[in-house]
Subunit: 313 residues, 2 copies
Protein backbone atom coordinates (compact mmCIF):
# COMPACT_ATOMS: atom_id res chain seq x y z
CA UNK A 1 0.00 0.00 0.00
CA UNK A 2 1.22 3.53 -0.75
CA UNK A 3 1.30 5.29 2.61
CA UNK A 4 2.39 8.75 3.66
CA UNK A 5 3.21 9.37 7.29
CA UNK A 6 2.48 13.07 7.75
CA UNK A 7 4.54 14.02 10.74
CA UNK A 8 7.56 11.79 11.24
CA UNK A 9 8.39 12.50 14.85
CA UNK A 10 8.80 9.68 17.33
CA UNK A 11 5.40 8.07 16.79
CA UNK A 12 5.26 8.75 13.06
CA UNK A 13 8.67 7.13 12.72
CA UNK A 14 7.48 4.05 14.61
CA UNK A 15 4.44 3.65 12.36
CA UNK A 16 6.47 4.42 9.24
CA UNK A 17 9.16 1.91 10.13
CA UNK A 18 6.77 -0.90 11.02
CA UNK A 19 4.58 -0.35 7.95
CA UNK A 20 7.73 -0.26 5.76
CA UNK A 21 9.04 -3.49 7.29
CA UNK A 22 5.68 -5.11 6.46
CA UNK A 23 6.19 -4.35 2.79
CA UNK A 24 4.21 -1.14 2.32
CA UNK A 25 5.55 1.70 0.18
CA UNK A 26 6.02 4.30 2.89
CA UNK A 27 7.03 7.95 2.54
CA UNK A 28 7.66 10.04 5.62
CA UNK A 29 6.82 13.75 5.48
CA UNK A 30 8.10 16.18 8.08
CA UNK A 31 8.86 19.86 8.62
CA UNK A 32 12.07 19.45 10.64
CA UNK A 33 14.87 19.93 8.11
CA UNK A 34 17.73 18.33 10.07
CA UNK A 35 15.62 15.23 10.63
CA UNK A 36 14.65 15.00 6.94
CA UNK A 37 18.27 15.47 5.87
CA UNK A 38 19.58 12.84 8.29
CA UNK A 39 17.06 10.24 7.12
CA UNK A 40 17.67 11.04 3.43
CA UNK A 41 21.41 10.57 3.92
CA UNK A 42 21.62 7.72 6.42
CA UNK A 43 18.15 6.24 6.70
CA UNK A 44 16.01 6.16 9.82
CA UNK A 45 18.01 4.74 12.72
CA UNK A 46 16.05 3.09 15.48
CA UNK A 47 16.79 1.36 18.72
CA UNK A 48 13.95 -1.11 18.28
CA UNK A 49 13.42 -3.00 21.53
CA UNK A 50 17.18 -3.07 22.05
CA UNK A 51 18.11 -3.96 18.46
CA UNK A 52 19.79 -1.40 16.17
CA UNK A 53 17.78 -0.99 12.97
CA UNK A 54 18.41 1.21 9.94
CA UNK A 55 15.53 1.62 7.51
CA UNK A 56 15.99 3.34 4.17
CA UNK A 57 12.65 5.04 4.10
CA UNK A 58 11.67 7.75 1.65
CA UNK A 59 11.26 11.11 3.35
CA UNK A 60 10.22 14.52 2.06
CA UNK A 61 10.36 17.97 3.58
CA UNK A 62 6.74 19.08 3.89
CA UNK A 63 7.34 22.47 2.22
CA UNK A 64 8.51 20.67 -0.97
CA UNK A 65 5.79 18.13 -1.57
CA UNK A 66 4.64 19.42 -4.94
CA UNK A 67 7.38 17.41 -6.66
CA UNK A 68 6.20 14.17 -5.01
CA UNK A 69 4.40 12.10 -7.62
CA UNK A 70 2.47 9.33 -5.95
CA UNK A 71 -1.05 8.00 -5.89
CA UNK A 72 -1.32 7.99 -2.11
CA UNK A 73 -3.76 5.44 -0.72
CA UNK A 74 -3.38 6.29 2.94
CA UNK A 75 -2.12 9.27 4.91
CA UNK A 76 -1.47 8.75 8.62
CA UNK A 77 -1.49 12.09 10.44
CA UNK A 78 0.98 12.21 13.30
CA UNK A 79 1.90 15.89 13.68
CA UNK A 80 1.84 17.88 16.88
CA UNK A 81 -1.69 19.21 17.19
CA UNK A 82 -0.75 22.80 16.46
CA UNK A 83 1.00 21.76 13.25
CA UNK A 84 -1.98 19.84 11.88
CA UNK A 85 -3.57 22.63 9.85
CA UNK A 86 -0.29 23.55 8.12
CA UNK A 87 0.40 19.87 7.36
CA UNK A 88 -3.03 19.45 5.81
CA UNK A 89 -2.34 22.44 3.59
CA UNK A 90 1.11 21.14 2.64
CA UNK A 91 -0.02 17.62 1.74
CA UNK A 92 -2.80 18.80 -0.62
CA UNK A 93 -0.73 17.93 -3.73
CA UNK A 94 -0.51 14.25 -2.73
CA UNK A 95 -4.16 13.75 -1.79
CA UNK A 96 -6.55 12.29 -4.33
CA UNK A 97 -10.30 11.85 -3.96
CA UNK A 98 -9.67 8.28 -2.83
CA UNK A 99 -6.89 8.92 -0.30
CA UNK A 100 -7.88 7.77 3.14
CA UNK A 101 -6.69 9.96 6.00
CA UNK A 102 -6.20 8.43 9.44
CA UNK A 103 -5.73 10.84 12.34
CA UNK A 104 -3.83 9.44 15.33
CA UNK A 105 -2.99 12.72 17.07
CA UNK A 106 -3.40 13.18 20.77
CA UNK A 107 -6.19 15.45 21.90
CA UNK A 108 -9.73 16.11 20.80
CA UNK A 109 -11.55 17.92 18.04
CA UNK A 110 -9.03 17.40 15.22
CA UNK A 111 -11.77 16.06 12.92
CA UNK A 112 -13.20 19.60 12.68
CA UNK A 113 -9.91 20.80 11.15
CA UNK A 114 -9.39 17.75 8.92
CA UNK A 115 -12.91 18.04 7.55
CA UNK A 116 -12.05 21.37 5.94
CA UNK A 117 -9.41 19.66 3.78
CA UNK A 118 -10.59 16.06 3.35
CA UNK A 119 -13.98 14.64 2.29
CA UNK A 120 -15.71 13.15 5.35
CA UNK A 121 -15.93 9.63 3.92
CA UNK A 122 -12.12 9.54 3.70
CA UNK A 123 -11.54 10.51 7.34
CA UNK A 124 -10.71 7.89 9.96
CA UNK A 125 -9.88 8.70 13.53
CA UNK A 126 -7.99 6.68 16.01
CA UNK A 127 -6.11 6.46 19.20
CA UNK A 128 -2.88 4.68 19.99
CA UNK A 129 -1.26 3.28 23.10
CA UNK A 130 2.13 2.80 21.44
CA UNK A 131 4.99 4.93 22.74
CA UNK A 132 8.13 6.24 21.06
CA UNK A 133 10.91 8.71 21.73
CA UNK A 134 13.07 10.83 19.49
CA UNK A 135 16.77 10.94 20.32
CA UNK A 136 17.97 13.37 17.67
CA UNK A 137 17.67 14.02 13.94
CA UNK A 138 17.05 10.67 12.22
CA UNK A 139 17.19 8.65 15.45
CA UNK A 140 14.33 7.16 17.45
CA UNK A 141 13.89 4.79 20.35
CA UNK A 142 11.03 2.30 20.09
CA UNK A 143 10.33 0.15 23.11
CA UNK A 144 7.46 -1.92 24.43
CA UNK A 145 4.10 -2.97 23.10
CA UNK A 146 1.01 -0.99 22.17
CA UNK A 147 -2.21 -0.99 20.27
CA UNK A 148 -4.40 1.12 18.01
CA UNK A 149 -8.14 1.62 17.89
CA UNK A 150 -9.75 3.33 14.94
CA UNK A 151 -13.11 4.13 13.42
CA UNK A 152 -14.57 5.70 10.31
CA UNK A 153 -15.70 9.30 10.75
CA UNK A 154 -18.50 9.12 8.15
CA UNK A 155 -21.29 6.56 8.40
CA UNK A 156 -21.05 3.69 5.92
CA UNK A 157 -17.27 3.44 5.97
CA UNK A 158 -17.10 0.69 8.60
CA UNK A 159 -15.61 -1.85 6.18
CA UNK A 160 -12.91 0.56 5.10
CA UNK A 161 -12.06 1.15 8.76
CA UNK A 162 -11.85 -2.60 9.40
CA UNK A 163 -9.60 -2.90 6.34
CA UNK A 164 -7.32 -0.12 7.64
CA UNK A 165 -7.03 -1.83 11.01
CA UNK A 166 -6.01 -5.02 9.17
CA UNK A 167 -3.22 -3.25 7.29
CA UNK A 168 -1.85 -1.78 10.53
CA UNK A 169 -2.10 -5.14 12.28
CA UNK A 170 -0.24 -6.86 9.46
CA UNK A 171 2.63 -4.54 10.36
CA UNK A 172 2.44 -5.62 14.00
CA UNK A 173 0.68 -2.48 15.16
CA UNK A 174 -2.09 -4.41 16.92
CA UNK A 175 -4.96 -2.34 15.57
CA UNK A 176 -8.63 -2.95 15.89
CA UNK A 177 -11.84 -1.40 14.73
CA UNK A 178 -13.78 0.43 17.43
CA UNK A 179 -17.47 1.22 17.27
CA UNK A 180 -17.02 4.07 19.77
CA UNK A 181 -13.64 5.62 19.11
CA UNK A 182 -14.69 8.94 20.64
CA UNK A 183 -15.01 7.17 23.97
CA UNK A 184 -11.38 6.05 23.80
CA UNK A 185 -10.28 9.49 22.60
CA UNK A 186 -12.08 11.30 25.39
CA UNK A 187 -10.84 8.80 27.95
CA UNK A 188 -7.24 9.30 26.85
CA UNK A 189 -7.76 13.07 26.65
CA UNK A 190 -8.82 12.99 30.31
CA UNK A 191 -5.43 11.52 31.21
CA UNK A 192 -3.64 14.19 29.19
CA UNK A 193 -6.04 16.91 30.39
CA UNK A 194 -5.11 16.28 33.99
CA UNK A 195 -1.55 14.91 34.18
CA UNK A 196 -0.09 17.13 31.46
CA UNK A 197 -1.27 20.56 32.56
CA UNK A 198 -1.19 19.97 36.30
CA UNK A 199 2.31 18.45 36.41
CA UNK A 200 3.57 21.20 34.12
CA UNK A 201 2.13 24.08 36.12
CA UNK A 202 3.19 22.51 39.42
CA UNK A 203 6.63 21.52 38.09
CA UNK A 204 6.46 17.95 39.33
CA UNK A 205 6.08 14.38 38.11
CA UNK A 206 2.88 12.35 38.33
CA UNK A 207 3.73 10.72 41.65
CA UNK A 208 4.65 14.11 43.12
CA UNK A 209 1.34 15.57 42.05
CA UNK A 210 -0.61 12.50 43.09
CA UNK A 211 0.78 12.65 46.61
CA UNK A 212 -0.76 16.07 47.27
CA UNK A 213 -3.97 16.40 49.21
CA UNK A 214 -6.01 18.16 46.53
CA UNK A 215 -4.88 15.98 43.59
CA UNK A 216 -8.05 13.91 43.55
CA UNK A 217 -10.29 16.98 43.80
CA UNK A 218 -8.58 18.71 40.88
CA UNK A 219 -8.61 15.57 38.74
CA UNK A 220 -12.28 15.02 39.54
CA UNK A 221 -13.24 18.59 38.59
CA UNK A 222 -11.38 18.41 35.28
CA UNK A 223 -12.67 14.95 34.32
CA UNK A 224 -16.22 16.08 35.05
CA UNK A 225 -15.78 18.99 32.66
CA UNK A 226 -14.49 16.62 29.95
CA UNK A 227 -17.44 14.32 30.64
CA UNK A 228 -20.00 17.10 30.34
CA UNK A 229 -18.57 18.14 26.99
CA UNK A 230 -18.34 14.52 25.80
CA UNK A 231 -22.00 14.03 26.75
CA UNK A 232 -22.92 16.91 24.43
CA UNK A 233 -21.39 14.75 21.68
CA UNK A 234 -23.28 11.63 22.77
CA UNK A 235 -20.20 10.13 24.42
CA UNK A 236 -20.99 9.09 27.96
CA UNK A 237 -17.83 8.65 30.03
CA UNK A 238 -17.75 6.41 33.08
CA UNK A 239 -16.31 9.20 35.23
CA UNK A 240 -15.37 7.01 38.18
CA UNK A 241 -13.57 4.49 35.99
CA UNK A 242 -11.71 7.29 34.15
CA UNK A 243 -10.60 8.89 37.43
CA UNK A 244 -9.41 5.55 38.79
CA UNK A 245 -7.55 4.95 35.50
CA UNK A 246 -5.87 8.38 35.71
CA UNK A 247 -4.89 7.87 39.31
CA UNK A 248 -2.96 4.69 38.49
CA UNK A 249 -0.47 7.19 36.95
CA UNK A 250 0.36 8.39 40.47
CA UNK A 251 1.95 5.06 41.41
CA UNK A 252 5.73 5.52 41.54
CA UNK A 253 6.15 1.78 40.90
CA UNK A 254 4.25 2.14 37.61
CA UNK A 255 4.74 5.40 35.67
CA UNK A 256 4.50 7.89 38.57
CA UNK A 257 8.09 9.03 38.30
CA UNK A 258 7.57 9.99 34.66
CA UNK A 259 7.16 13.65 33.64
CA UNK A 260 4.31 13.93 31.13
CA UNK A 261 4.98 15.00 27.55
CA UNK A 262 3.73 18.57 28.09
CA UNK A 263 6.19 18.99 30.95
CA UNK A 264 8.98 17.76 28.71
CA UNK A 265 7.88 20.04 25.87
CA UNK A 266 7.54 23.22 27.92
CA UNK A 267 9.70 22.95 31.02
CA UNK A 268 12.52 20.87 29.60
CA UNK A 269 12.62 21.95 25.94
CA UNK A 270 10.88 25.36 26.02
CA UNK A 271 8.46 24.30 23.32
CA UNK A 272 4.86 25.40 22.88
CA UNK A 273 2.37 22.89 24.26
CA UNK A 274 -0.70 21.10 22.89
CA UNK A 275 -2.93 22.58 25.63
CA UNK A 276 -5.31 24.13 23.05
CA UNK A 277 -6.15 20.62 21.80
CA UNK A 278 -6.71 19.13 25.24
CA UNK A 279 -8.14 21.41 27.97
CA UNK A 280 -8.39 24.27 25.49
CA UNK A 281 -10.55 22.14 23.19
CA UNK A 282 -12.90 21.46 26.10
CA UNK A 283 -13.05 25.21 26.78
CA UNK A 284 -13.91 25.97 23.16
CA UNK A 285 -16.54 23.25 23.05
CA UNK A 286 -17.87 24.53 26.39
CA UNK A 287 -18.48 27.94 24.85
CA UNK A 288 -20.11 26.32 21.83
CA UNK A 289 -22.44 24.16 23.96
CA UNK A 290 -22.94 26.79 26.71
CA UNK A 291 -21.45 24.49 29.34
CA UNK A 292 -19.13 26.13 31.89
CA UNK A 293 -15.63 24.60 31.98
CA UNK A 294 -13.76 26.87 34.42
CA UNK A 295 -11.02 24.43 35.41
CA UNK A 296 -10.13 23.75 31.78
CA UNK A 297 -10.33 27.48 31.00
CA UNK A 298 -8.05 28.45 33.87
CA UNK A 299 -5.55 25.64 33.25
CA UNK A 300 -5.35 26.57 29.55
CA UNK A 301 -4.73 30.22 30.46
CA UNK A 302 -2.07 29.30 33.03
CA UNK A 303 -0.21 27.06 30.58
CA UNK A 304 -0.30 29.73 27.88
CA UNK A 305 1.02 32.30 30.37
CA UNK A 306 3.79 29.90 31.33
CA UNK A 307 4.66 29.46 27.63
CA UNK A 308 4.98 33.22 27.28
CA UNK A 309 6.98 33.63 30.50
CA UNK A 310 9.42 30.94 29.32
CA UNK A 311 9.50 32.35 25.75
CA UNK A 312 8.54 28.91 24.42
CA UNK A 313 8.64 28.42 20.66
CA UNK B 1 -2.16 53.35 76.67
CA UNK B 2 -1.33 49.72 77.48
CA UNK B 3 -1.00 47.99 74.15
CA UNK B 4 -0.08 44.45 73.14
CA UNK B 5 1.11 43.82 69.61
CA UNK B 6 0.14 40.21 69.03
CA UNK B 7 2.47 39.12 66.24
CA UNK B 8 5.68 41.11 66.16
CA UNK B 9 6.87 40.36 62.65
CA UNK B 10 7.80 43.17 60.31
CA UNK B 11 4.49 45.07 60.47
CA UNK B 12 3.87 44.34 64.15
CA UNK B 13 7.33 45.67 64.91
CA UNK B 14 6.61 48.87 62.97
CA UNK B 15 3.37 49.48 64.85
CA UNK B 16 4.96 48.52 68.17
CA UNK B 17 7.93 50.81 67.63
CA UNK B 18 5.89 53.81 66.54
CA UNK B 19 3.31 53.40 69.32
CA UNK B 20 6.16 53.02 71.83
CA UNK B 21 7.89 56.15 70.54
CA UNK B 22 4.60 58.02 71.01
CA UNK B 23 4.62 57.18 74.71
CA UNK B 24 2.37 54.14 74.87
CA UNK B 25 3.21 51.19 77.10
CA UNK B 26 3.78 48.58 74.39
CA UNK B 27 4.46 44.88 74.80
CA UNK B 28 5.26 42.77 71.77
CA UNK B 29 4.12 39.15 71.74
CA UNK B 30 5.50 36.66 69.26
CA UNK B 31 6.03 32.95 68.72
CA UNK B 32 9.46 33.12 67.08
CA UNK B 33 11.90 32.37 69.90
CA UNK B 34 15.10 33.76 68.33
CA UNK B 35 13.31 37.02 67.60
CA UNK B 36 11.94 37.28 71.15
CA UNK B 37 15.37 36.51 72.62
CA UNK B 38 17.15 39.07 70.41
CA UNK B 39 14.72 41.84 71.35
CA UNK B 40 14.86 40.94 75.06
CA UNK B 41 18.63 41.10 75.01
CA UNK B 42 19.36 43.96 72.63
CA UNK B 43 16.08 45.74 71.98
CA UNK B 44 14.32 46.01 68.64
CA UNK B 45 16.76 47.30 66.02
CA UNK B 46 15.26 49.13 63.09
CA UNK B 47 16.51 50.84 59.99
CA UNK B 48 13.83 53.52 60.16
CA UNK B 49 13.85 55.50 56.91
CA UNK B 50 17.64 55.27 56.84
CA UNK B 51 18.21 56.03 60.52
CA UNK B 52 19.40 53.33 62.93
CA UNK B 53 17.01 53.04 65.87
CA UNK B 54 17.13 50.75 68.90
CA UNK B 55 13.95 50.55 70.96
CA UNK B 56 13.88 48.76 74.29
CA UNK B 57 10.43 47.32 73.95
CA UNK B 58 8.96 44.68 76.22
CA UNK B 59 8.48 41.39 74.41
CA UNK B 60 7.05 38.05 75.50
CA UNK B 61 7.09 34.64 73.93
CA UNK B 62 3.45 33.83 73.19
CA UNK B 63 3.56 30.39 74.85
CA UNK B 64 4.48 32.02 78.19
CA UNK B 65 1.94 34.78 78.52
CA UNK B 66 0.28 33.52 81.68
CA UNK B 67 2.94 35.31 83.76
CA UNK B 68 2.24 38.63 82.04
CA UNK B 69 0.29 40.81 84.49
CA UNK B 70 -1.15 43.76 82.66
CA UNK B 71 -4.54 45.36 82.24
CA UNK B 72 -4.33 45.44 78.45
CA UNK B 73 -6.40 48.21 76.87
CA UNK B 74 -5.65 47.37 73.25
CA UNK B 75 -4.42 44.33 71.37
CA UNK B 76 -3.32 44.84 67.79
CA UNK B 77 -3.40 41.54 65.91
CA UNK B 78 -0.62 41.25 63.36
CA UNK B 79 0.04 37.52 63.01
CA UNK B 80 0.21 35.58 59.79
CA UNK B 81 -3.38 34.56 59.04
CA UNK B 82 -2.81 30.89 59.80
CA UNK B 83 -1.36 31.75 63.20
CA UNK B 84 -4.32 33.89 64.27
CA UNK B 85 -6.33 31.22 66.03
CA UNK B 86 -3.38 30.02 68.10
CA UNK B 87 -2.47 33.60 69.00
CA UNK B 88 -6.03 34.28 70.16
CA UNK B 89 -5.84 31.22 72.38
CA UNK B 90 -2.45 32.22 73.76
CA UNK B 91 -3.40 35.81 74.60
CA UNK B 92 -6.51 34.82 76.57
CA UNK B 93 -4.76 35.49 79.92
CA UNK B 94 -4.13 39.15 79.04
CA UNK B 95 -7.59 39.95 77.68
CA UNK B 96 -10.14 41.56 79.99
CA UNK B 97 -13.75 42.28 79.19
CA UNK B 98 -12.71 45.82 78.21
CA UNK B 99 -9.72 45.00 76.02
CA UNK B 100 -10.21 46.27 72.52
CA UNK B 101 -8.87 44.02 69.76
CA UNK B 102 -7.87 45.56 66.43
CA UNK B 103 -7.26 43.15 63.55
CA UNK B 104 -4.94 44.42 60.83
CA UNK B 105 -4.16 41.12 59.13
CA UNK B 106 -4.18 40.72 55.39
CA UNK B 107 -6.99 38.70 53.91
CA UNK B 108 -10.67 38.31 54.61
CA UNK B 109 -12.94 36.63 57.11
CA UNK B 110 -10.71 36.93 60.21
CA UNK B 111 -13.58 38.44 62.22
CA UNK B 112 -15.30 35.04 62.23
CA UNK B 113 -12.33 33.56 64.08
CA UNK B 114 -11.82 36.52 66.41
CA UNK B 115 -15.49 36.51 67.37
CA UNK B 116 -15.09 33.10 68.98
CA UNK B 117 -12.59 34.56 71.48
CA UNK B 118 -13.53 38.24 71.85
CA UNK B 119 -16.90 39.92 72.52
CA UNK B 120 -18.14 41.58 69.33
CA UNK B 121 -18.25 45.08 70.81
CA UNK B 122 -14.50 44.86 71.44
CA UNK B 123 -13.58 43.89 67.88
CA UNK B 124 -12.25 46.46 65.41
CA UNK B 125 -11.08 45.64 61.95
CA UNK B 126 -8.76 47.53 59.72
CA UNK B 127 -6.50 47.61 56.78
CA UNK B 128 -3.08 49.14 56.40
CA UNK B 129 -1.00 50.43 53.53
CA UNK B 130 2.22 50.62 55.58
CA UNK B 131 5.03 48.28 54.57
CA UNK B 132 7.82 46.70 56.58
CA UNK B 133 10.47 44.02 56.18
CA UNK B 134 12.16 41.72 58.62
CA UNK B 135 15.92 41.31 58.20
CA UNK B 136 16.63 38.78 60.93
CA UNK B 137 15.83 38.12 64.58
CA UNK B 138 15.30 41.48 66.31
CA UNK B 139 15.94 43.51 63.13
CA UNK B 140 13.46 45.26 60.86
CA UNK B 141 13.57 47.69 57.98
CA UNK B 142 10.88 50.39 57.96
CA UNK B 143 10.73 52.63 54.92
CA UNK B 144 8.20 54.94 53.34
CA UNK B 145 4.80 56.22 54.29
CA UNK B 146 1.49 54.50 54.80
CA UNK B 147 -1.94 54.73 56.33
CA UNK B 148 -4.53 52.79 58.28
CA UNK B 149 -8.28 52.60 57.96
CA UNK B 150 -10.35 50.98 60.66
CA UNK B 151 -13.92 50.44 61.77
CA UNK B 152 -15.84 48.95 64.66
CA UNK B 153 -17.20 45.45 64.03
CA UNK B 154 -20.26 45.84 66.30
CA UNK B 155 -22.79 48.61 65.80
CA UNK B 156 -22.61 51.42 68.34
CA UNK B 157 -18.82 51.36 68.72
CA UNK B 158 -18.14 54.12 66.19
CA UNK B 159 -16.77 56.50 68.80
CA UNK B 160 -14.41 53.88 70.14
CA UNK B 161 -13.17 53.27 66.58
CA UNK B 162 -12.59 56.98 66.06
CA UNK B 163 -10.70 57.07 69.36
CA UNK B 164 -8.52 54.11 68.27
CA UNK B 165 -7.69 55.85 65.00
CA UNK B 166 -6.65 58.92 67.01
CA UNK B 167 -4.26 56.88 69.14
CA UNK B 168 -2.63 55.37 66.06
CA UNK B 169 -2.41 58.76 64.36
CA UNK B 170 -0.77 60.30 67.43
CA UNK B 171 1.99 57.74 66.80
CA UNK B 172 2.31 58.91 63.21
CA UNK B 173 0.45 55.93 61.78
CA UNK B 174 -1.91 58.10 59.76
CA UNK B 175 -5.09 56.25 60.72
CA UNK B 176 -8.64 57.16 60.00
CA UNK B 177 -12.07 55.87 60.73
CA UNK B 178 -13.83 54.23 57.79
CA UNK B 179 -17.56 53.73 57.50
CA UNK B 180 -17.03 50.89 55.01
CA UNK B 181 -13.89 49.06 56.00
CA UNK B 182 -15.03 45.85 54.31
CA UNK B 183 -14.84 47.66 50.98
CA UNK B 184 -11.16 48.47 51.56
CA UNK B 185 -10.48 44.97 52.84
CA UNK B 186 -12.11 43.31 49.83
CA UNK B 187 -10.39 45.71 47.44
CA UNK B 188 -6.98 44.92 48.93
CA UNK B 189 -7.83 41.20 49.02
CA UNK B 190 -8.48 41.37 45.26
CA UNK B 191 -4.90 42.56 44.73
CA UNK B 192 -3.57 39.75 46.91
CA UNK B 193 -6.03 37.25 45.45
CA UNK B 194 -4.68 37.78 41.95
CA UNK B 195 -1.02 38.85 42.15
CA UNK B 196 -0.04 36.54 45.00
CA UNK B 197 -1.37 33.23 43.77
CA UNK B 198 -0.83 33.78 40.06
CA UNK B 199 2.77 35.02 40.32
CA UNK B 200 3.54 32.18 42.73
CA UNK B 201 2.10 29.41 40.57
CA UNK B 202 3.63 30.88 37.40
CA UNK B 203 6.98 31.60 39.09
CA UNK B 204 7.23 35.18 37.87
CA UNK B 205 7.00 38.76 39.06
CA UNK B 206 4.02 41.04 38.52
CA UNK B 207 5.35 42.60 35.31
CA UNK B 208 6.15 39.15 33.93
CA UNK B 209 2.64 37.95 34.64
CA UNK B 210 1.05 41.18 33.41
CA UNK B 211 2.80 40.90 30.05
CA UNK B 212 1.07 37.60 29.22
CA UNK B 213 -1.93 37.53 26.93
CA UNK B 214 -4.37 35.94 29.38
CA UNK B 215 -3.40 38.03 32.43
CA UNK B 216 -6.37 40.36 32.14
CA UNK B 217 -8.82 37.48 31.64
CA UNK B 218 -7.57 35.62 34.71
CA UNK B 219 -7.58 38.77 36.86
CA UNK B 220 -11.08 39.60 35.68
CA UNK B 221 -12.42 36.13 36.49
CA UNK B 222 -10.93 36.17 39.98
CA UNK B 223 -12.02 39.72 40.83
CA UNK B 224 -15.55 38.89 39.72
CA UNK B 225 -15.60 35.96 42.13
CA UNK B 226 -14.43 38.22 44.98
CA UNK B 227 -17.10 40.76 43.98
CA UNK B 228 -19.88 38.18 43.98
CA UNK B 229 -18.92 37.03 47.45
CA UNK B 230 -18.53 40.62 48.70
CA UNK B 231 -22.01 41.40 47.35
CA UNK B 232 -23.39 38.61 49.53
CA UNK B 233 -22.02 40.63 52.46
CA UNK B 234 -23.52 43.89 51.20
CA UNK B 235 -20.16 45.14 49.91
CA UNK B 236 -20.46 46.24 46.32
CA UNK B 237 -17.08 46.42 44.61
CA UNK B 238 -16.49 48.65 41.62
CA UNK B 239 -15.06 45.76 39.60
CA UNK B 240 -13.63 47.87 36.78
CA UNK B 241 -11.88 50.21 39.18
CA UNK B 242 -10.46 47.28 41.17
CA UNK B 243 -9.14 45.58 38.02
CA UNK B 244 -7.55 48.82 36.81
CA UNK B 245 -6.01 49.26 40.28
CA UNK B 246 -4.60 45.72 40.23
CA UNK B 247 -3.19 46.14 36.75
CA UNK B 248 -1.12 49.14 37.80
CA UNK B 249 0.97 46.46 39.58
CA UNK B 250 2.08 45.19 36.16
CA UNK B 251 4.02 48.37 35.41
CA UNK B 252 7.75 47.61 35.68
CA UNK B 253 8.39 51.29 36.39
CA UNK B 254 6.12 51.10 39.45
CA UNK B 255 6.14 47.83 41.41
CA UNK B 256 6.00 45.36 38.50
CA UNK B 257 9.45 43.92 39.13
CA UNK B 258 8.47 43.03 42.67
CA UNK B 259 7.66 39.41 43.62
CA UNK B 260 4.53 39.38 45.81
CA UNK B 261 4.72 38.27 49.44
CA UNK B 262 3.27 34.81 48.75
CA UNK B 263 5.97 34.19 46.17
CA UNK B 264 8.60 35.18 48.71
CA UNK B 265 7.00 33.01 51.39
CA UNK B 266 6.64 29.87 49.29
CA UNK B 267 9.14 29.95 46.45
CA UNK B 268 11.95 31.81 48.19
CA UNK B 269 11.56 30.73 51.82
CA UNK B 270 9.57 27.47 51.53
CA UNK B 271 6.96 28.73 53.96
CA UNK B 272 3.27 27.92 54.00
CA UNK B 273 1.16 30.62 52.39
CA UNK B 274 -1.89 32.64 53.44
CA UNK B 275 -3.94 31.35 50.47
CA UNK B 276 -6.70 30.01 52.75
CA UNK B 277 -7.39 33.56 53.92
CA UNK B 278 -7.45 35.10 50.47
CA UNK B 279 -8.74 32.93 47.59
CA UNK B 280 -9.47 30.10 50.02
CA UNK B 281 -11.70 32.40 52.07
CA UNK B 282 -13.66 33.27 48.92
CA UNK B 283 -14.03 29.54 48.21
CA UNK B 284 -15.35 28.86 51.71
CA UNK B 285 -17.75 31.78 51.55
CA UNK B 286 -18.81 30.63 48.09
CA UNK B 287 -19.84 27.26 49.52
CA UNK B 288 -21.67 29.01 52.35
CA UNK B 289 -23.57 31.35 50.00
CA UNK B 290 -23.98 28.76 47.20
CA UNK B 291 -22.04 30.93 44.76
CA UNK B 292 -19.58 29.10 42.47
CA UNK B 293 -15.98 30.34 42.76
CA UNK B 294 -14.04 27.92 40.53
CA UNK B 295 -11.02 30.14 39.85
CA UNK B 296 -10.48 30.75 43.56
CA UNK B 297 -11.07 27.06 44.31
CA UNK B 298 -8.57 25.89 41.70
CA UNK B 299 -5.93 28.49 42.58
CA UNK B 300 -6.21 27.57 46.27
CA UNK B 301 -5.79 23.88 45.42
CA UNK B 302 -2.81 24.56 43.16
CA UNK B 303 -1.04 26.66 45.80
CA UNK B 304 -1.66 24.01 48.46
CA UNK B 305 -0.28 21.34 46.12
CA UNK B 306 2.77 23.50 45.47
CA UNK B 307 3.26 23.89 49.24
CA UNK B 308 3.25 20.12 49.60
CA UNK B 309 5.53 19.54 46.63
CA UNK B 310 8.05 22.02 48.06
CA UNK B 311 7.63 20.63 51.60
CA UNK B 312 6.81 24.14 52.85
CA UNK B 313 6.53 24.61 56.59
Amino acid sequence: MKIIIAGAGAMGSRFGLMLHQAGNEVTLVDGWQDHVKAIKENGLKANFNGEEVTAHLAIEWQQELSSLKTETELVVLFTKAMQLDQMLQDIQPVLSENTKVLCLLNGIGHEDIIASYVPEQNIFIGNTMWTAGIEGPGRVKLFGEGSVELQNFAKGQEEAAIELAKILSQAGLNAKYSDNILYSIYRKACVNGTMNGLCTILDTNMAGFGATKFADEMVTKIVNEFAEIAAQEEVFLDVEEVIAHIETCFDPELIGLHYPSMYQDLIKHNRLTEIDYINGAVSRKGKKYHVPTPYCDFLTQLIHSKEEILHAQ
